[in-house]
Symmetry: C2
Subunit: 244 residues, 2 copies
Amino acid sequence: MSLDRQIGAALWRQIAEALSAEICSGALPPGARFATESELSARFKVNRHTVRRAIQELTHQGLVRVEHGKGTFVQGPGIDYPLGPRTRFTEIMLSKGISPSRKVLETERIEADGRLAELLNVATGAPLVCTETLSSANGQTFAFSIHYFPEERLPGIAKHLEATRSITASLEQLGHGDYRREWTRVSAELPDARIADVLGRPQSRPILKTESLNLATDGTPLEFGVAHFSGDLCRLTVEGAPYD
Amino acid sequence: MSLDRQIGAALWRQIAEALSAEICSGALPPGARFATESELSARFKVNRHTVRRAIQELTHQGLVRVEHGKGTFVQGPGIDYPLGPRTRFTEIMLSKGISPSRKVLETERIEADGRLAELLNVATGAPLVCTETLSSANGQTFAFSIHYFPEERLPGIAKHLEATRSITASLEQLGHGDYRREWTRVSAELPDARIADVLGRPQSRPILKTESLNLATDGTPLEFGVAHFSGDLCRLTVEGAPYD
DNA sequence: CTATATTTGTGCGTATGTATT
DNA sequence: AAATACATACGCACAAATATA
């Protein structure tokens, strides 16, 4: 391995390229400790800043993860993720029983702001129950969701959620065993620090964000949910035509 | 505006925060020339490196665009984009006549690799016609797509595409005025340099990538397409349930 | 628990290269 | 050709988080 200090490619690019190749070759297992900045600096005979620039690039590509004071670690690039390129999201979810594996975290009461009020067809300021859930498959967290329920329409939903820690079960106990998904809107974003954290992913990697509305059988809104999926670990498969 | 050199926040973060606020306040119109590194360096009384780190952050957030030798420019954060948060993708596409506004760029012949062969239900190595299209609305390019057609099943498709520069028209002339979308898979990615370029977006901003399969009325595959949307300018709206 | 070493994070000063005007 | 503006690289110093003796 030697660097070309004369022309064209910047040193940090060459270093990033070399390190990237080593990681992708599989020589380093995911989670393994990476060489320290000092070591790399000595190895490539460049200044530490130059190494840092290269590592920054690797971070941005999602290949490594840097922890202050601890070191740099190889980030498993989608190792053993349950959703392959040809796997249908629906089938996977059902076959693995994802819906039951969803864990309800915290539950709190809030007041509906303008947007939520319109979506859920309640008055602005109406009481909502807000809860957060984590979905995982094969022990890998792949989605973080926030759900909003109109409390007036679902009396005691908060208690049911805390007791059952299941959305489906809670709605069923309130007489809505049969609700339906009205629509889902999908966008791509970069996660904020918190969402990146719960998904265990670098903030530099994109996520799929879906917003969806569930209705009761009579057409009144029961739940509005925002879900964040690890963007390059998942594919959402939609039957039929999404845009034409 | 003064920086806190004592505690907590790094200087470059404070600077990025300040500049971000100025941009978001709308004081600087999109496309406007930004202050140079030297100017900012003098203004905040920090080293140019520190300013560069801050600008890098703004770049990553998609607020500015840096051009070597020219300067730094304010990147319009979705100014005048046609798809609002509550706008249904389908409605917009139809009402603006997006399908006709799609422009067919280049057309070439390739051989089907394993994956394409399986998707299109042809033999590996079978001739495919590959074409690229740009979709825009209000003069704003918002999607770049690549389409694959099985040539054996669509004789002369290449000529039709070059003549009409329209996918729908070409298929119609070949007796497939009536095809249907079988499925669409949606994922989130960061664009490569080329796609970022044609979409006129920074490589640091995520895109929505959809893969979709269109079938003839008898169920044989007619087209496989990969589309790249400006991830945070668009939302794909799906009726019904995408995953449960 | 404390002290020390290790490792990453921030910032400055300087110098030189490359692209644009 | 010269000036301007961004890009790369080095060296030094110290701070902050973590690990270790």
